[in-house]
Symmetry: C2
Subunit: 134 residues, 2 copies
Amino acid sequence: MTPTHIEHIGIAVKNLEESIAYYEKVLGLKCYAVEEVTDQKVKTAFFMVGQTKIELLEATSEESPVAKFVEKKGPGIHHIAFAMDDVATSLKEAEENGVRLIDKEPRAGAEGLRIGFLHPKSTGGVLTEFCGKK
Amino acid sequence: MTPTHIEHIGIAVKNLEESIAYYEKVLGLKCYAVEEVTDQKVKTAFFMVGQTKIELLEATSEESPVAKFVEKKGPGIHHIAFAMDDVATSLKEAEENGVRLIDKEPRAGAEGLRIGFLHPKSTGGVLTEFCGKK
């Protein structure tokens, strides 16, 4: 497995509206979608930068992983998602290489994609997502 | 100003050799350059993923900003660099929009590029770099 590109960069924010305004006004990007992912208890906003999306994440509940992240580390860069042709196989290969997985099998993510997370304890502190159509 | 793509993602690591091995073995990426940036007191390693580089950063001194980051937050994602046509103008425009700058003027970065950093206090906790040829 080799990632084809960085699919998105997830950024934990305190206030989605204020953060959208920053990315639009200061960086000149255009928010093209706002979506709630109930499974992850987050509201998300998307911007395209070349091949890569910026995904802003605001927690909708105190139990959201994003709420816990913000409480512990403050708002900021939350995870990197690598675009993989086959998420299920890539997760399996990572596990065979000794990586601890958060998701043993792909599950549904934003924008209808299949996603799976690697545990940051196995990846040098980088919460790493694999992301793709299958 | 609008960034054309994500130029690179900077990742703070404790041990460059071990981290290179992880990105090569587990993610199937190829390290194409290792460079020391004496100005920033870091050793860097580069990987290409689509349009975007992964830039691993190991501190070479306790006074390195990367050493301070790792001490405070642990290893992990350190900054995002947006590719800009004109770094000097982009920094000026960001400042006019109320952003606090770390670098008022572009300076020399890795790979011969001009770079400038925005302060994370102004960017929702995201250490943000502008990066380009001028």
